[in-house]
C-alpha cells in the first residue's frame, strides 16, 4: 500500500471532485478557529466534526451491515450523559472525564450486545421496530431519572481548567485570534473525530468489514458459507455503539452541557439518517459530505428560507410562506431524503464517483 493509502486503509475517495471536496472540508475544519473567528462559526465547525463522526459510526451499521437501527442516539446519549454525570458529580477533573468514558463506552457496547443478541436474529423490520421502542423508552427514562440526569433540563458542568474559555494560551494580539481553552477543546474534538473516522474506515476495510458487506448483500449465502451472521451483526452493532458513545462524550465536552434535546431526541436520529442516506450509504466519505451539507444547511439555509418566506408572504401568495418558514427546513430535507432514496441510492458520494446507482 502506498503511503497516502495507509491511513485511509486502502479506501480512497476515488473521485477527483470528491477528493477535492474532502480536502477542502478537512482543511477548513482543521483551521476553523483561525479561518472563522467567533463563537458561532466555531460552534458550527465543532458540530460538523461531531456529526461526521456520528454519521460514520451509523454508516457502519446502515451502509455496510445493512441494519436499520433507531437506537443509535441512545448510545450517543449514553456517552454524553456519562461525561456530564461524571464531571457534574466529581468536579471539573481530567480523571472524571476518564471515568465517564470508562463507564459509558462499555455500557453502550454491552447494551448493544444485549439488543443485538435478542433481536438481530430477526428480520430487518422487526429489529428496526424494536430499536425504536427501546430508544423511546430510554429517552423517557433519562428524563424521568432527574436526580441522575437532571431530567428535562439536563446537566451543565464545568470542564477542567485547561479547556475553559477563560484560559488564554496565546492572546489575540499575537495571531489575531486568541488561542484559548475553547480552541484546545475544539482541537481535541477535531482530532478525536478524525481518529474515530479513520478507525471506522479501518474496520470496514478489514476482513471483518468485508464479511459484513457480504452479509448485507445476501445473508443466506453468507450463512451458508460459514459466517455466523448474528455474531458479525452483533459485533458491528457493538463497535458502532461504542463509537457513538465516544462521539457523545465529545459533544458533551464541547457544549459543557447534556440534555435530552441535545443527545437523545429522535430528531438527532433522523438527522443522522438523513446525513448517511444523502451523503451515500456504505461509503464512509458520505458521512463527511453529508454531515457538512447538513450542518451548513441547518445554520445558513434557514436564513435563506426566512427570506423566501417573508418575500412570498409580502407578495400575498398563499401557503408558500408557511412552507418556507425557517422552522420548516426539515420538510425540505425530508423531501430531499425521499428523493435520494429513490434516485440517488448511492448518495452524493456515489454520484461523484460516477458509479452505477
Amino acid at each position: 500500500m502506498t503511503l497516502p493509502m495507509m491511513p485511509l486503509s486502502g479506501d480512497p475517495p476515488r473521485s477527483r471532485v470528491l477528493s477535492a471536496a474532502l480536502i477542502l472540508i478537512v482543511l477548513a475544519l482543521a483551521l476553523a478557529p483561525f479561518l472563522f473567528p467567533g463563537a458561532k462559526p466555531l460552534n458550527v465547525a465543532a458540530k460538523v466534526c461531531i456529526f461526521i463522526a456520528l454519521a460514520a459510526s451509523y454508516d457502519l451499521l446502515l451502509g455496510y451491515t445493512g441494519v436499520v437501527s433507531f437506537a443509535h442516539t441512545m448510545f450517543y446519549g449514553i456517552g454524553s450523559y456519562g461525561i456530564a454525570i461524571a464531571l457534574y458529580s466529581l468536579g471539573a477533573r481530567w480523571d472524571a472525564i476518564g471515568l465517564g468514558l470508562a463507564i459509558a463506552l462499555p455500557l453502550a457496547a454491552a447494551l448493544a450486545l444485549v439488543i443485538g443478541l435478542f433481536s438481530l436474529r430477526v428480520q430487518t423490520i422487526f429489529f428496526a421496530m424494536i430499536t425504536l421502542a427501546v430508544a423511546s423508552a430510554f429517552a423517557v427514562l433519562a428524563s424521568q431519572l432527574s436526580w441522575l440526569t437532571g431530567g428535562e433540563d439536563g446537566r451543565s458542568f464545568r470542564v477542567p481548567e485547561l479547556l475553559q474559555p477563560g484560559t488564554v494560551f496565546i492572546p489575540r494580539d499575537v495571531l489575531g485570534v486568541a488561542v484559548t481553552g475553547r480552541t484546545l477543546t475544539y482541537y481535541i474534538v477535531f482530532a478525536c473525530c478524525v481518529l474515530l473516522f479513520l478507525l471506522l474506515l479501518r474496520v470496514v476495510n478489514s476482513p471483518f468489514g468485508r464479511v459484513l458487506q457480504a452479509i448485507r448483500e445476501n445473508p443466506f449465502r453468507a450463512e451458508a458459507l460459514g459466517y455466523r451472521t448474528v455474531v458479525h451483526r452483533t459485533l458491528a452493532n457493538c463497535i458502532a455503539a461504542a463509537a457513538a458513545a465516544a462521539v457523545g462524550a465529545l459533544n458533551a465536552l464541547w457544549l459543557r452541557y447534556t440534555g435530552p434535546d441535545t443527545s437523545l431526541s429522535f430528531n438527532i436520529m433522523l438527522d443522522i439518517l438523513l446525513i448517511v442516506v444523502i451523503g451515500g450509504m456504505g461509503t464512509m466519505y458520505g458521512a463527511i459530505i453529508g454531515g457538512t451539507l447538513y450542518v451548513l444547511a441547518q445554520n445558513y439555509l434557514q436564513a435563506l428560507m426566512g427570506t423566501v418566506s417573508t418575500a412570498t408572504g409580502d407578495a400575498g401568495i398563499p401557503i408558500l410562506p408557511q412552507l418556507f418558514h425557517p422552522d420548516r427546513w426539515l420538510l425540505w430535507l425530508g423531501v430531499l431524503f425521499i428523493l435520494s432514496v429513490y434516485f440517488f441510492p448511492t448518495g452524493v458520494v456515489g454520484k461523484l464517483r460516477g458509479g452505477p446507482s
Binding site: V68, F126, Q144, L323, R328, L331, P345
Partner: protein, 338 residues
C-alpha cells in the same frame, strides 16, 4: 386402489385452537388486582386500559394487515393518525355549537361527518401514498423503512405548516362527557363508547376476513401471494384497497384519540407509533386477533404501571414485549411465513 388405502398414514387432524393468548389480558387484569388499593380504582384503570387498547387496536390493525399482506411496513403510518385527527378538527371546530349542545342528535350530527371526513381523507391519502411512494420499493425493506420514515417527517412538517405547531384543543361533545357511576367506580362515558367502537371494528374485520371472498383472498395472500396469483387473481389490486383501509383505520384511530385527549397536535402520530409497533410485534405481524390482544395487553399494562410506578409506563411495555417474545419469538399469532 380402494378408498381406505389412501387413508393409510393419514393422521386425524388435531383441532388446535390457540386459546391461551386470548386469556392474557384477563390474566393481566386479575394479576394487577392485588396491587391496586381500591376496587373502584382498579375498575377505572381497567376500563381506561380497555378504551385505550381499543383505540390503539384500531390504529395498529391496519398496519399489521398491510404488512401481513403486502410485506410493506409503513413507518409513516403515524402520519395518517395525525392527519385523521386534524381532518376531524376541520369539521368539529366550525360545528362547535352542535358539539356543545345538550342533544345527542346534534352531537352526532357533528361527530359523524367529522369521522367520515377523516376516514375518507386518510383513505384517499393512503391510495396516493401507496401508488406514489411505496409501489416503487416493493420488496426492498431497507428502502421502505427509509422512505416511509421520510414520508412521516414530511407529513408532520406539512401539518405544522398548515395548522401551526401548537396544540388544537378538541372538546368532547356534551352527551359524551361525564361518567356512569357503578357504586364507587366512575366509568367515563367516552371510554365506554371507545370500547364499543373498537369491538365493532374488530368484529367487522373478523367478519370480512372470514366470511367474504375478499377476506379469503387476503388471508390466502398473507400466506402466499404467489400462489394466489397463480390461481388467477390480480392481488396487487387488493393491495391498494387494503392499504387504503389500513390508512383509513389509522385516521379513525386518530380521531378517537384526539377526542380522548381532547387535543390534537402534529407530533401525536410519532408518539403513538412506538406503542403501535410494540402492539404489532406482540400480536404477530399480520394477525388481526393478535393485534387485538396485544393492544389490550399494552394498554392495560400502561395504565396499571402508570398508576403504580408512573415513571415506568413505557419500560413496562417494553418488558411486556420482551416477555412475550421470549415465549413466542414471532408474536402471539404468527401468521405469515416470514
Amino acid at each position: 386402489m380402494s378408498a381406505t388405502d389412501t387413508d393409510v398414514g393419514a393422521a386425524l387432524p388435531k383441532v388446535r385452537v390457540d386459546y391461551l393468548p386470548l386469556l392474557l389480558p384477563l390474566l393481566l387484569a386479575v394479576a394487577a388486582f392485588p396491587f391496586i388499593p381500591s376496587t373502584s380504582t382498579w375498575v377505572t384503570l381497567t376500563i381506561a386500559g380497555l378504551a385505550m387498547g381499543m383505540m390503539i387496536f384500531v390504529m395498529a390493525s391496519g398496519l399489521t394487515l398491510i404488512f401481513g399482506l403486502m410485506d410493506v411496513l409503513n413507518f409513516g403510518h403515524g402520519a395518517f393518525i395525525a392527519i385523521g385527527a386534524y381532518m376531524a378538527t376541520l369539521v368539529l371546530l366550525p360545528l362547535a355549537a352542535w358539539m356543545q349542545a345538550d342533544s345527542v342528535w346534534l352531537n352526532l350530527a357533528a361527530v359523524m361527518p367529522a369521522v367520515l371526513f377523516a376516514i375518507v381523507v386518510t383513505g384517499a391519502l393512503g391510495l396516493a401514498f401507496e401508488r406514489i411512494v411505496i409501489m416503487p420499493v416493493y420488496g426492498q425493506h431497507l428502502k421502505q423503512i427509509l422512505i416511509t420514515m421520510g414520508g412521516m417527517i414530511v407529513a408532520e412538517q406539512i401539518l405544522y405548516a398548515f395548522f401551526g405547531p401548537q396544540q388544537i384543543p378538541l372538546a368532547l361533545p356534551t352527551s359524551l362527557r361525564g361518567s356512569f357511576q357503578f357504586g364507587e367506580a366512575a366509568v367515563e362515558k367516552y371510554r365506554v363508547i371507545a370500547v364499543l367502537v373498537g369491538l365493532a371494528v374488530f368484529a367487522a374485520m373478523l367478519l370480512i376476513l372470514n366470511r367474504t371472498k375478499i377476506g379469503l383472498l387476503i388471508r390466502a395472500g398473507v400466506e402466499n401471494t404467489e400462489m394466489v396469483e397463480a390461481l388467477g387473481y390480480r392481488i396487487t389490486r387488493l393491495f391498494v384497497g387494503v392499504f387504503m383501509a389500513g390508512s383509513a383505520l389509522a385516521g379513525l384511530g386518530g380521531v378517537m384519540w384526539g377526542l380522548y385527549r381532547e387535543q390534537v397536535n402534529a407530533a401525536m402520530g410519532g408518539e403513538l407509533m412506538v406503542l403501535v409497533f410494540i402492539v404489532v410485534i406482540i400480536g404477530g405481524l399480520g394477525s388481526v386477533t393478535g393485534c387485538f390482544i396485544g393492544a389490550l395487553l399494552v394498554a392495560l399494562a400502561t395504565n396499571y404501571a402508570g398508576f403504580l410506578v408512573p415513571k415506568a409506563a413505557l419500560i413496562t411495555d417494553i418488558l411486556l414485549m420482551v416477555l412475550i417474545l421470549l415465549w413466542r419469538p414471532r408474536g402471539l399469532y404468527p401468521v405469515t411465513s416470514r
